[in-house]
Symmetry: C2
Subunit: 348 residues, 2 copies
Amino acid sequence: MTKKKAPANISKVPTIRDVAALAGVAPGTVSNVLTGKKAVADPLKKSVLEAIATLDYRPNLLASSLRFGSTKSIGIVVPDITNPFFSGLVRELENQAAKDGFQILLMSSREKSAEETELIRSLVARQVDGLIISPSEDAVSESSNSTISGIPTVLIDRAFNVVGFDTVSSDNEAAAFMGAQHLIDLGHQKITFLATEPGLANIEERAAGYRKAMIEAGLEKSISVVFGGLSIESCRGAIEQELRRADRPTAIFASAYIATLGAAKAIRAVDLAFPDDVSLLGFDESDWMTVLRPYISTVEQPLYELGESCWSLLMRRMKQKDATLKNQRVKCALRARESTCRLTTKRE
Amino acid sequence: MTKKKAPANISKVPTIRDVAALAGVAPGTVSNVLTGKKAVADPLKKSVLEAIATLDYRPNLLASSLRFGSTKSIGIVVPDITNPFFSGLVRELENQAAKDGFQILLMSSREKSAEETELIRSLVARQVDGLIISPSEDAVSESSNSTISGIPTVLIDRAFNVVGFDTVSSDNEAAAFMGAQHLIDLGHQKITFLATEPGLANIEERAAGYRKAMIEAGLEKSISVVFGGLSIESCRGAIEQELRRADRPTAIFASAYIATLGAAKAIRAVDLAFPDDVSLLGFDESDWMTVLRPYISTVEQPLYELGESCWSLLMRRMKQKDATLKNQRVKCALRARESTCRLTTKRE
DNA sequence: GTGAAAGCGCTAACAA
DNA sequence: TTGTTAGCGCTTTCAC
C-alpha cells in the first residue's frame, strides 16, 4: 500500500496558517470551519476542507486550549492500576466521560503519596477541567471549595477525613457489618479482620462495621484486627501467622481486594481445608472468584454506581463551583458463595 | 458588553506576569528561576520564590509546551485496561517513564478500533512526544517512518502486518510451540487451541506455533483451533461446546488471558474433573493463578522485558527519527503447574 | 460572510 | 545578570 506523500515544500507539521494559505482564505475562516461556531459559505468551506485533507492538518489542541481556556479533559489518579477494583472503576469512568465528550488522563500513584502529589500537580499544570482522585494517603489536604488550585475535584473510594471535597464511596461500615453478620450467622465466633494499612479511611470504616457486628453478637472478646499492608504478599504473611496459632480463627474477613488474595494464598500455604477449616469472606469482586473452587464469597462494591455518582458529582461541581458539598455513599452487596460455610463444631 | 483590561487584583488564577509584578522583576526572570536554565542572582531568586508561594502560582504547562515545543509526555493506548496483561504492562511502562521524567497519558480503546483511531488523534492533538500503541485491530495503518503524524511511535504486543513501525512483542510462535509441546509431552493428542479473534497478529502467531508442534508430533489430524472472541463469556461459550462433544479434547491451550479465564469457567460449567479429565494451559500470568487449586499452568509473557524494550525503542526513535526499524521479540516462559497433567489413558 | 489583528501564558532570543 | 520583545498556534473580537 502506498501512502500519500507529504508535499515536499513543507517539512514541518502544518498549522492553521498553512491551511489558510493553501485555501486562499484567512486563518480565522479555517477556524470557523473547524469549530463550526460561525457559518462559512459553502464554496469556501469546501476548499478549506480540501486544504486540510491534502496537508493532513491536525489542529494543535494545546494552542486551542490555551486560547479557549478549556481542555475537555479530566484527570484521574488511582493508587494502583493493576488492582481490579481500580481498573474496573476507571473503565466505568471512561464510559461516563465518553458520554459527555471528555477525555481521560489517567495516572497511577503506585500507592506513594509523594508521587501522588506530583501527579496531581502535573494534571493541574496540564489544565484539566476536573479531577477525580482516589487518594493513596494524606496527599490531598483540606480545601474549602472542592477544588485543587481552582480545579473541580471529586474524591472517590478513600474519602479521608478531609473537609471541603465532594466524595463518593461505598457504605463501608454497613457493608462490613453485613459481611461480619454473614459469618456470625454461619456460627463463626473467631473471626479475624484482615485490614490493609492503618489510616486508610475506607478500611477503618470497614473495621468499624466488623467491630460493631461482633459487639452486637456478644463477641467483643474475639475481636481481632490484623494489618497486612498494601501488598498481596504482606497480607499473606500477616494472616498466615494467625492461621498457624493454636487458637486460629475459623473465619477471615478480608477488607479489600489484595487482602482477599493474600488471605486465600495464606490458607493454601498452611494447608488447611478450605472452606471447612477456615472460611474466607473477601472484599471486591473479580472474574476469577467464580472460576476455581471454592467460589469466593465477597462483599461487592458496585463499580457502575460508584463511577456514575462520581461523574455526575464532578459535572455538577464544574457547572456550579459553589454548589453545596456532597458526600455520597453507594450500597455494597453480599455475594455469599462457597468460601464461607457453616462452622462445624468439632472443637470445644 | 463592556470588557476592560483586567485589573491586577482580580481573583483569577495567577500567571507568570502576576508573579513578576509581585516580585518586582520581569516575566523572563521568573521563567529562568522556574526552568533553571539560566542563572538568577540569589536575592531576586528568593523574592521570586516568595511571590510564587504567596500567589500559589502554578505554571501553565499548555503555554509552556506550546512555546517550548515539547510536552514531556507519552501517550499509551491499550485495548482493555482491566486485562491484567495490559495493566501490568502499563505499570512497567510507567516505571520506565518515571525514570526518564516523562508523564504518561493512558487511554483504553475498549477493543473498538473506531475509538482507538479517535484516541490516537486526540493524543496527537495533545502533542505528546511519543506514542505506544497496542492496536485493537487495524486502526494503525502503514507508515514509512515509524511515526503517526510525525510522532515517534512503537507498537506493542499486537504487532500487525504493518510495515514502518518499531514493534515489540513476545516470540509468540515459539512460546505457543513450547506450550503445545508441553501438552504433547504429557501424552495429550486431542488438544484444542482456544484463539480469541481472527486477524489479531499475536494470536495468529500463537496458533501457528501450536500447529507446528502438532504437525511435528504427527498430530495434524487432531489440530483444532476455536475462536472465542474478545470476552470471557464468549470464550467460555465457544470452548464449552467443544467440551460437550463426545470426542472432546483432553487438553485446552488458551491463547490469551481472557481465553484462559473463559476456558477455566467452561471446564467448571460442564462439570469435568480438572485437570484429570481435561488439562488447561493458559497464556499470561495473574496472581489468582497460584491461589486456588489447581494452580494454573501458563505461558508467561515477561512484562518487565516487554516494557523495558518498548521504552528504549521509543527513546531511541525520539532521538533519531531515521533510525533503522526494529522488530523486537522477547522470550516467554512456561510455568508448568497443576492444571496440566499427564493423560490417563483409560479410553481407547 | 470574511479578513485583519489582538492576545491566551509562556520562553528564547536579543538588548541593555 | 536582567529587562524587553517577539512569537508558539489558535480563537475571537472587531471592522469591512
